[in-house]
Every structure is written in C-alpha cells, then in structure tokens.
Symmetry: D3
Subunit: 251 residues, 6 copies
C-alpha cells in the first residue's frame, strides 16, 4: 500500500530543511509493514511550525489541497504530519481515503494501554487545543493531563539529549502527580527525535511515538478496507449537489 | 462604543449581496444600546456560505486578517458573523479586544434561560460541529439536541415564511421529543430572518436570535471592561518573542 | 428600562446599613447602559449575610415576595443580590419578567472568556453549594475549583486592602494549581469592593465582578425581549389552576 | 431507636388530615425493624403539598425548625417526609443527628439494584428539580428519565386504583423507551398508596417505595453510629462562632 | 432473617484461620438488627487474599457456587465478603435473593453522607479496579480519590495499631488534598480491624466500615422485600431456556 | 511475528467444532500483514459460548492459563477471542506481551472513524456489560447505543443470510434512531460471519469486524514494540514478591 505523510507546513524551506523531510521518510519506511511504501511531502506554504490555534488554522488550506491531491494521485491513505491534526474533519469531508491524524491515533492507542494518559506538549499555548482533541477523539475521560516541555518546536532538535531530559522530567511529573500510566509525545518533531524508548525505560510506562502510531493506524485501516464514516463527515453539501471542484465552493 | 460585525465570507459578492450586508447593519444598530455603533463588513474571499467543516476552515484566514484590522482600526469588539464561530480561538490569540462568537454567546445565553436547549441548524453536515461547539463553550451538559431544518443557507431567504414553518416544525420536535425548553437559531441567516418571535410564540419557549445575542454579549463585555483571558488564549509564541507581524509566522 | 436589584436580607438594618444600599445603587447606575435605571432595595427580614445553605434558604421567602412585588411595580427585570442566587428557580416559576442570579450570570460569562474558571468564595461552607450552582448553570465542566478566602461577609469591608490581598493570594493559587484562566468573585460584597481590576492586573487573568455581570445580563435580556423559559420554570400547578395568589398555596 | 418522620407541610390541616398522618405512622412502624419507634409529625405552616420549586422552598423554614426540635427532643434521626428533600443540606448544617431525604435515599437504593432507573413524579414542574436531585445524590449517571404521572399530589388518593394504573402506564414507558430497569415512586403520597408491589409484579422491575427506603436508610445509619459529614455540611459560621441560636442569624 | 456472609477465598485454611471467620461472624451478629442471624462461611478454594484483578477473577467460580448454595439453603440474602465485590453481577444473574457487594453498598452509603468520598485501599494494584467499581455503582462523580495504605491484606492484622496509624495518615491526605469529606475502608480485613471510629474521631469525617454497611444494606433490602432487577441482571439465556443447572452451561 | 488467537471456551468440543477453529485461523492469516502468523487455539473447558456475565467470568480461569502458556511459548501477542474481553485486565497483570481484547480494540477503532458508534450484540443480557466495556475503554462518550440482534451465539451460523438481515435491521435502527455513524459487530461469531462489508454497503456506514480489528491492533503494537502499561496493570503483589507461580497465589 502507498501512504502519504503530509507535513502541513513548508518544512523543506525552514530550518529543518529537506534533509529532515527525507529523514522522516526513511524512519517511517523503516517502521512500516512489508509492502507499505511511505512518501513524505510538505506543503509549499503555511506556518514554519504549529504552536498555537492560529498557526494550526493557517496550515489548513494548503493541507487540504495536499490531501485532495494525494487521493487523486492514488495514495491509499494520508497522514497529516502534525499532532494537532489540522483540518482532519474537513479533510474527511473532502476525500474517501482514510485521513489519519497522529493526535487522534495516538490518543486512541494510549486509551488501550492503560487507565490514564498524559500528553507532553511543547508549549503552554497548546494545552487547551490538546484537551479539545481528547474530547473530539472521545477519550477525554482517560486524559490525566497535558504537560508542557517549554521547548519551541524548532529548537527541539538543537540538543536532542537536553530535549529528552526535559521530556523525561515533565513525564515523571505526569506519572507521579497526575497518575498517568501512559505518555504521549504530543508533537511530531518530538516523536521523531528517537527518544521514546529511553524515556519509557526510565519512567517505566509506555511512551507513544505519534508518528509510528499514525503509521500503524493508517496501515490497519487500509488493510481492513475501512475508512472514516461519510455519515459522520459528509461531503460538503455544495460539492455534493454540483459535483463541482472544492475550489468552486469559495467565492 | 464601536463594534464590528465581520461576515466571514464575501457576502456582498454572493447572491444576498451588499444589500443584505446593509440590512444586517441596520438591524444590529436598531438592536443596539444607545451609544453603540455597529459596522457590518464582509471579507473579500472565502466560502459563499458555511455548511461544512471544510468551508468553516476555509473562511478562517481572511477572517483573522479582518479581525486584526478591526483592532487596528480602533473597534472595541468584533463579532464573527457565523454561528460556527470560525477562527474564534485563533482570533483571541491574535488580538486584545473582545472577539465574540455568536454560537458561543447564544449557547451561554440559552444555558441561563432553561434546563435543556436545542440548536436548529441548516444541514446535517453541521450537527457534529455544533455539538463540539457546545463542548467548547462548556455547556454540553445542557444540549438536548441539534436538529436539522434541511434548508441550505443561501435558500433560507427565498421564502421566509416557508423557512419559518420548517424551523417551527423542527423546533416542535426538539421541544416534544428531546425535552428542549429553549431553542437557538443555529445559523446567522436564520437569525436575521426575523422569525424568532413568531416561532417563540407558537412553541411557547424562548427562541434565541444569535445575532442579537452576540451583539448584547459584545456590548456587555466592552461595558464591563472585560476581554477574553490571554492565559487561555495566549499570543502565539513566535509572535510573542519577535514582536513580529502575524504574517511572519508563515513561511 | 427599570431594573430592581433586590438584596435578599435586611442590609439596611445590619452593620453595612442603608449607606451601603445606596452606595451599591450608585455603582450599578454608574455601570448601566444609557437609559437603564437601577433601584436597590433590601428585604425587611432574613439573614444578615448568607454564608451557609441554611441562611440561603431562610432568605428565600422574603426574597420571593420582593420579586413578585417588583413585577407588580413594573420593573423590567430583577437581580437577586446574592451570588448564591437564593430562590432563583422558584422566582422564575412565579414571575414573567427576567430574574437574574449573579452567580449564574457570572458563571456563564466566565465560560465565554476562557477554558477553566475558579470561584473565590468567602467561607468553606459555600464550596459545595457553589459547585452545585455550576452544575445548575450547566458549566460544571469548566469549573477548575472553588477556593476560599476565609473572610466572613460582614468583615470584607473592614479593611478593603487586606481583603484584596487575600483574594489575590487565593486567586493566585487557583491560577497556578488549578489552572484557572478566569476568576469570579463569588460574593456580592466582594464584588462591590472595587478590587476586581487590581486583582486582574496583578494575576493576568480576567476577574469577574458578579454585580456588574448580573446587570449586563439583565440589560441584555430586556433589550432582546427575552425571559426565562416557562416550560423550564412552569407556574406552580396550584397557582395555574386557581389563578389564586401565591400565598393561597400555603395552608 | 426513635425516628421522627417530619411532614414538611400542615398535612393534618389539609384534605388528607390527621388521619393520614396516623396512617403513615402506622405503616412506618409496621415496616420498622424491632426496636424502632417512628413518630410522624407535620409542621404547622407551609404548602398543602409540594409540586414546584416555590412550594419546596416555602416548606423549608418550618421544616428546619421541626428538625432542630426533633434533635432537642432526643430523636435518633429525622426523615424529611417529601421526595424533594426540602432543606436537606441546610438541616444537616444545623443538627448532628442523621437527616434523611427520601429522594436521596431511594435514588441511592435504586443505584444498587440495576443499571438505569427512572423516577415517576406527579407533575411536569418537578422533572427538573428531580434531575438536580440525582446530581446532588451523585447518581445522575444512572438516571434514565423522570416521567410524569400528571396527577396532583392531593388527588392521588381519590382513586387509588386509577392512580396505580397511571403509574403503571408511565412506568411501562420508562422501562420500554428509556431502558429503565428500576423504578422509583417520586412522591411520598404515591409511595404511601401501597401500590409498589403490584406495579413491580406487572412491570417485572423493582419499584421503590420512598418512605420505606428512607426508613431503612435512617435505621441503617443509626445502627452504624454514622451521620452526615460535618466537613460536607458545616455548621453555619455565625452559629459556630457565637454558639447562638439559629434564629439569631436572622436579622 | 438469615444472611450469609460468604468469604470468597479459603480464609479458614490461610494465616487468619477459622478463628477469624468466627470472629467476623460474632461481629456481624453483634451489629445486626434483632431477628437477623448472620452466618459466615468461606469457600474451599481460591486466592488467600484479593489484591489484583487476577485474584479477584480467580475467586469467582467458587464464590458463585457458594451463592447458589446459599439460595438453595434458604438464606434471605448473601454478602460477598470482599470489597471488590467479585462476581457480583454474575451472581445476580444466577439467583433471586439479594446479593450484596460491600464495595457497592458502602460507595452508595458514602454518597449520601457528603459531597466527595475517598476509598482507602491496601495496594496500588487495586486503585483502577476500585475506580471502575465507583463507575459501576453509578457514583463516580463523587469519588475524590482512591488512596493506598501500602499494606498487604494478610499483614493488616499483624499490628493493628500500626495499620490504624497508616490508614489515618492516608485518610488525612485524602481529606486535605483531595477534599474528601467521607472515607471508606476499601478492604474487608481493614473494615474488620475495628478502627473506623478512632480514625473518624481523629480526622473529623465519617469513616465507613464496609462490613457493617453491607450488613445494613442486606437487612434493608430483605425488610423491604426488594432484590436486584432481573431486567438488569437477567438469567443467562442458556439457563433460562433449558431450566438446566448452571454447570451444564459449561462444556 | 507470531500471534495467538485464544478462544476462551472449548469451541472444538462444541457444535461449531474444530472445523470452525481452523476456519477462523485461515481467515485471520488471510487478513494478516506479510510476516504475521496467527495460531487459533481454544481452551479445554469453559462455557460453550458467552452470553452473560456469568459465562464471561467462568471463562476466565482457563483463559488466563492459556495466555500465560502463550507467553511461555514465545508468542508475540495474544488475542482473547471473545468480544467481552474476558479476563483482559487480569491477563495484563500476568504477562508482558500485549494482550488484545477485540471489544476494546474495536471500540477504540470505531472512535476514530466517526462521532457516535453503536454496538450490535447478540442478546439483551450483554447490553450492560458492553456499556461497561465502553467505559473501561474510555470511549463511553461516543457510545450511541448497544442494540440487540436477539440471536444466540450458537445459532448465528445456522442461517448466515438470516443473521445478516437481522444485523442489518438492528443496525439501521442504530443509525436512524440513535444517530450512530459507525457500527460494531459485538460478538466474535458475528464478526466471523463475513457479513460486515455487505451490511456496511447497505447502511452506508463503516461496520467493524472485531476479529480483524483485534488482529490489526495486535500487529500494530508488536510492530511498535509497545505493550500495556505495567503501572496500569501491575503484577499481582504476591507474585511480585515471591517470584512464585501464579497458581501459588491460590490456596
């Protein structure tokens, strides 16, 4: 199967660059089941990273365009490469192939591994959006806390060991004070740091890498022949009637 | 005080036209307290009407721009002229003046008038988004139902009497089957039809006009010297640090 | 419009005296929109202040009488001058004009300004009643905590600066430990101390003055031609049938 | 042990009369464990029956007085003889002996007999108050519905067989449509009709007689040496400090 | 009435021995209402004590057998002598007489004594199961916390005073940090230590002895002629059709 | 990877026989990713099928033994072959390899495909247990309903077409009346009937085959190197201390 992992921002133009796009592609293909081919692409415009509701929403138009192209290009599923799942519901209205949000996927995965999970996010500005994500995924009842590492996304890779130590310290608080028994790395750059196993070993609880979780969710859906419910995410009425292009909806 | 009512789509270019923009402005000024001046503007691009998550998100970029301009232009508050409150949280991250979402405002108003309220929306595709809105507003516990009139936004004004009868029939179901004791007109065009009093009289329950509710919420906040919590809606970190323009956040 | 603010206890006979009744009337009129006239009255009997469920309930009979008189006297709305909203539901059963509870009004206002709010109350004995108030208002999901200033109502005005510092300290705990991003002054005497702006500036979150919030809610409802749902708060059956005076219901 | 069952209204002066007071006393003593003596008294003033929030609150002052007297007279526990539990929390603030609300007691009993229970109440005006009661008792999660028999309290005994048939019909709807597997008779006069066994046999689900449930709860608490938590229901602060009589709290 | 208290493990063969079985029987009879006779029996096989979901489930087969025998032997009710209520729902499917779970009984009792209760359990492995118990009982909304004494069941009686001090310390944390106003001893051996009164006196909140609470619940149900709903706990379909012995269900 | 699918009952001795065990093994291997080998085994004793809490619990002892053997035999994960997930939490206490419950897996999968899902179960006696399952999985907030096909497990395969029509009719009710937008086949025999695609096509919503969902969940966990949290499901304390065999826990 062919899966597209779509970065909802111009990563290749930013500080991480094309190299990081390729590194993530290599990792995803390494994690994939035999027969799965993952392509990582970014979008030409949008925020350099997503650390607020504002940036999340500004990432949506280009992302939705990319997802529609992925469907036209014959991909079997698309993963939106941001923990905040920007445009997830809108994308599901527009296409028939499974659209995977790493936030949603890893929240649902976490719910099956323990009783109470905590999300470790980058900055305070994402706490409320991620609580809302847990509500939308349906698992708010198991959310112990969203805790903040206080490292901007674009600085996470500067000193990976320092980032890991910070995530570990914050994770330890979640385990001890909030009674979390599962942790989620609530940011894709954090998930791609390669630190989840070490943090898990030190804290004694599962630590979910959202990128890997999203990939397994995508492969699982495609393998089962399942996709999101069109009753839940109906085609926008104007598109339905006119069989027109999405762009025509816009004046 | 000066309040801007910002239509998050190019209404003046669409079927309702500039005339409708002016009609709404006249009504809002008629509903206003003495000393309040309401200006209605629309944005130059975006969806003709919002009937899906897709259109809601596509309306956001132009809307956020408009809200920032409103602040710069000295308005005391902005109302986002769509029941779905597109971009509400992001807008609150960007500006200091109160940003009012008619959906949120009328949900909170409804919560104070009875025990269980129902929202009457235009199309089935908006049921789930409006349930999520009730969660975000914090009043999901009082939501009896979201019921669907099955009339596209752009057809609501074609035959106002027929629209009213349809709203009434759907409202009656909400009252009888879902035990709603308060009703909300869950669409701005529906709210500006001038039907709420008649529907209220016939069904014997309060019917909330979301436009009027939003105006009173805006006037109330300005009068109290209150605005949204910047702890809840912090300035996006990149903007905070660099004192840069929002546009610079985008690559 | 004419609004009555009814103090549900014999304030003019108590330590605060008639002077305080007039001071509150002056403040409310100062806060009002042009065209609104607020009259503050107290009731001839009842508790000196309300710091328990016991006192709250003992305040009800005289308060209900006063509210019915206010309706007969042509007031457009009545505000029950106690954060605990004593007799709110019963009053709505008895009259048609809007009856505003400052507790309910400010809880709903708070829900629109942030994600999690805390109420600062006077004494421990009011924590549970105020949690139940949040349930009745429908916004329990956003209540971060009810925190206690440990100052009896009748001592709040003895040293206003000391009261402010205490409220500030308790508010800081709510913000830091309970993640509140909005605060409510959960007592009318606290609300009329004139401290909300200073507390807000120091803590960096909105602080809601329940008296001012109630006034804006009352003005908003009257301006919209709305009142509480009689389906939610039906006229007591015996009164309905016999068109008798409320007093006749009592043996 | 000595238990007082306090009717929160002047039943002996009303249509049911002293005879009904004695009939209920006989039944309660018949239901009691060996060694329990139940005394039924009514209060000299208050509503003839309780069918609204208004009447419920008007019943409180005389009821609280009666409960304090019962404690002074050496009763081991008091039952408030109304399903709405008027003044329950306030009474617990005032006395140390257990105060039993039949509504609360039977809701908690119901929660242990099945998964979802329904309350059958007399009139529509009591639906919302009884939903709030389930919240206060902590068992809202198991409340399937409050359904209405549409018989005023004072008419329930006119034709007991007709009342039973009506209760049965409403109970059948609760079982079939709301998936209730336990029913509560949500009114004391309904509970004392002697119909619960027959309704239970016909509908195949337990039917709880609130009077009998309250008695067992009272006997159980006294036998265990337990009473309500004074941390949850603290003595009103003014009474605490001054060791004064409750009446002195009132101006 | 005749009540059986069934220990779901071979207590008489374990370290506590037959002596403890008899001691509990003596206590229960001492706590009983006049006319109640309690027989304590244990089952021949199963876990020595229950400190995990594993042991709880392994206790079930022998316990269910014992409960069916109790019904055949003419007992009026059975109490499952473990706070975890092993097999409660299954037992109710198999028999008509009331089956009492001390966990469920004392959770429901606690809900009527205050606003927020905490359970003090023996080991960390029981926290999640007891949270699920509160959900099943329907009172999760009032659960402040499950706190852990960190004493294995079989060591609780080694030094009763040390156990009491530990329970007290943990209880104090629940009261202060979690705002519990009622405490439950979440283990039968803890309940039979005879420490609840002293802990209650020291902490100033009711402390519920689950054994005594279960006995009162059993006596109350039998006295009211009530048992669990067979609509909620239907006879297993295979047994229903074939009128066969439960054993025949098993291959 | 090697996955064991463990049927928690003696299927090979029952009416479906060894043939059905092999048929399911063939299907699972057909659904598997390349490199996965699935072995289906049943246990030597237990209920012929599981249609009650009683049978579910009676299936546990043999099932737990089987799961421990699977771990010792080197399997990478075990699937408990019953939608009710009998013994799931206990099994996770006993072993380190992932233990998959098809109920939990498919509930979490469903939560990611829509807003509200319904479970179609075989008999009324399983409604309440499956509601509790949704709570334990953390997704109760998205459960629209559990609806009943009224076909005993052992009769489902008698006339597959009739079973499909019945499932379809019940599913249609869930979609229309309960607003479900995703359906789950809440029984493994139903899941292995091969009807999900046809039901999905007819009703226009995704229909989840719990066997296939469980397999993908197992493969996904193994591929990610994840297993359940031992903090959530700790090794039973007695086993931890004594490094003894589980059997020694039992007296």
């Amino acid at each position: 199967m062919k899966i597209q992992y779509l970065v909802p921002g111009p990563m290749s133009k930013g500080p991480m660059g094309k190299k990081e796009v390729l590194r993530r592609q290599a990792l995803l293909n390494q994690w994939a089941f035999p027969g799965t081919e993952v392509t990582v692409v970014d979008v030409p415009e949008g925020p350099a990273s997503i650390e607020s509701a504002y940036e999340e929403l500004m990432a949506v138009p280009a992302t939705l365009k990319g997802i529609q192209e992925a469907e036209r290009d014959g991909f079997d599923a698309v993963i939106i490469g941001c923990f905040g799942d920007p445009g997830l519901e809108a994308a599901r209205e527009l296409v028939e192939i499974p659209v995977i949000g790493p936030g949603e996927s890893s929240l649902l995965l976490a719910a099956g591994l323990g009783h109470h999970f905590s999300v470790i996010t980058v900055l305070d500005s994402l706490v409320a959006p991620q609580e809302q994500q847990a509500f939308r995924a349906g698992v708010l009842a198991k959310l112990a806390s969203v805790r903040v590492a206080e490292i901007p996304v674009l600085e996470l890779m500067n000193d990976i060991d320092a980032s890991r130590r910070r995530v570990e310290a914050v994770g330890a608080e979640a385990v001890e004070r909030d009674r979390a028994d599962v942790l989620l790395l609530g940011c894709m750059t954090m998930s791609f740091l390669g630190i989840s196993d070490e943090v898990s070993n030190r804290l004694g609880v599962p630590v979910i890498n959202a990128g890997r979780a999203a990939l397994k969710a995508a492969e699982g859906l495609v393998a089962q022949g399942l996709t999101h419910s069109k009753k839940a995410f109906p085609t926008p009425p104007k598109l339905r009637k006119k069989q027109s292009q999405p762009e025509e909806v816009l004046a």
